[in-house]
Symmetry: C2
DNA sequence: CTGTTAGCGCATTCAC
DNA sequence: GTGAATGCGCTAACAG
């Protein structure tokens, strides 16, 4: 592959001049611009990004760690990051964390080794302390979807508790009192917070909390099916169900369908996330919106600023979820 | 940020020795391994990937260009690529092409500049020739979801025509003869091929082809809604509809629902892709499976081999779609 | 406006 | 087993 030297030789100028036209330096004569451009084309020259990064101490890269690229949730997150990266003429290096400490750590270290000046980290496996250490190491690092008090100004998170509280309250306002909850088996903050939101809403409305009304499963359709099956077998006479996320709600609906239980006529269901599938379910799912796209945008914006050494305090860093009314909830 | 020199100084050895322990060279005494390791830890040393890439002429990176990361279709593609990249101890650099020539070109050039030795390109905007040129430039480049005769051994594609043919034939076998088709307005190969598959299946079965039965829209839910609305307004007495993809099928179903037309009782619908939403629709969508995950895996495998200079001919490079039977098609 | 030169951080010869 | 020296491809003084 041709190097800058080859171009210099062919165009009859020095490497410095070539570098100047590559970087559109104002001090470069029309003549040299022409001859260099011609030589570059002839040689199929491609400036080596690694060499540039090495000498200019900047890679123009924002690194992102997501849970799993194949999850549409992270897909929209990545797109949002890409959008602002693009605005700043940067590109994206991506790593999958798979919600596990080891993979998350490896992914982050890889991004650091690659000298990404901006980092947007979605981590559920690493401890607060480890994340804090990484944040201390990389000024441009931002944590998304998680709140860590010691580095609060580097976190963009959602108030999970409030989301679940909202959802449950919405059901209560519609006259429901026998409300089941389908929770996740993943032991992460989100799980606890959402579950607590459900419980607190019940308590606040004078409804007795009964552990029997809570079932668990993996946070996907199968998990929702399993949890709902267990719930049904207890014959609890529920009229509504709140769920950890939309996928579990989907599983829940599917089990109901198989058992001849109509939604929302017999049982109302409410999801969480407002993911891509929510509007495709039948009935269209009433759910809690997780504004991951704008959260990711702001995270990216913030991380770029931090990387530049700028401070920024203008963003709302704790986002509040809102309710998306569709058709899966009916007044009792 | 600490460099290899700092580590050398602190551990009292030369940079060469430090380099040896970093790279686990067999010729490195236990003593130096220890002192160097200790120094690295103390300094929080991170080997600079750019410098390594520069000197070792290898980045260990596979670059991927997708249409849009937020589309779940590409999400599963990326995950598959990541899986084999991981197996080979490589990581992923990702670019969005957005199906446009300019963005696709920029994305590819960025990956080349970053010296990705493997490239997996999903491009619908670039011309065959331009893609061929890129392929000539980068030995480890593979084109996915597109077939270019001149570089056939570097392409992993799906037989779109056959998929659509299969779908249409399936409807015909179920007694349908008045079959509408919802096509895409995107002027790419896939559109033409799938449309042709529909037409050829009709012809092969002695059913007259009527342009009135074909409507167009953007390849998403809205497009499907629009196309179906147009189709319905023509009062064609259709009993079945084949669609360009699952999203358009979703839009189609949604319009039917609003108009009191039941599926599959009144009108059967068949999708294409077997994307994430197919099984969430109501009725669960009968569709054509696009095995993008295994295609992407093989593309990644192939590109890694090509990058190493190995030849490989063992893969089926043209994949054939299969039918996924669910509940949206009923015999007439 | 242009060329010479010195590194950026690292791996790798080649002597020792 | 180790260290000194060289160069990967490029940018940025600096001197002209």
């Amino acid at each position: 592959m041709a190097t800058i030297k080859d171009v210099a030789k062919l165009s009859g100028v020095s490497v410095a001049t070539v570098s100047r036209v590559i970087n559109k330096s104002p001090k470069a004569s029309k003549a040299s611009i022409e001859s260099v451009t011609k030589a570059m084309r002839e040689l199929g020259y491609r400036p080596n990004a690694n060499a540039r990064a090495l000498v200019s101490q900047s890679t123009n890269t924002v690194g992102v760690v997501v849970g799993d690229v194949s999850d549409p949730f992270f897909g929209v997150m990545l797109k949002a990051v890409d959008k602002v990266a693009r605005q700043h003429n940067k590109h994206m290096l991506i790593g999958n964390g798979f919600h596990e400490a080891k993979t998350e750590r490896e992914a982050i270290e890889l991004l650091i080794n690659s000298r990404c000046e901006s980092l947007i980290i979605h981590s559920k496996g690493l401890s607060n302390q480890e994340l804090i250490d990484f944040a201390d190491e990389v000024p441009g690092m931002v944590v998304i979807n998680r709140y860590i008090p010691q580095i609060a100004n580097r976190c963009i998170a959602l108030d999970n508790h409030k989301g679940s509280y909202l959802a449950t309250e919405y059901l209560i306002k519609h006259g429901h009192t026998r409300i089941g909850y389908i929770s996740s088996t993943y032991d992460i903050e989100d799980t606890q917070q959402r579950r607590a939101g459900y419980i607190d809403a019940l308590v606040a409305n004078g409804i007795e909390v009964d552990e029997n009304f809570i079932e668990y499963g993996t946070p996907d359709e199968e998990g929702g099916e399993k949890a709902m099956t267990n719930l049904l077998s207890k014959n609890l006479d529920m009229t509504a169900i709140a769920t950890y996320n939309d996928y579990m709600a989907a599983g829940c609906l599917s089990i109901m369908d198989e058992n001849g239980i109509a939604s929302p006529q017999d049982v109302s269901v409410i999801g969480f996330d407002d993911g891509i599938i929510a509007k495709y379910l039948s009935p269209k799912l009433t759910t809690v919106r997780y504004p991951i796209n704008i959260m990711a945008e702001q995270a990216a914006q913030l991380s770029v600023q931090l990387a530049k050494g700028e401070k920024s305090n203008e963003y709302p860093r704790m986002f509040v979820p809102t309710l998306v009314r569709r058709r899966s909830v009916l007044a009792k």
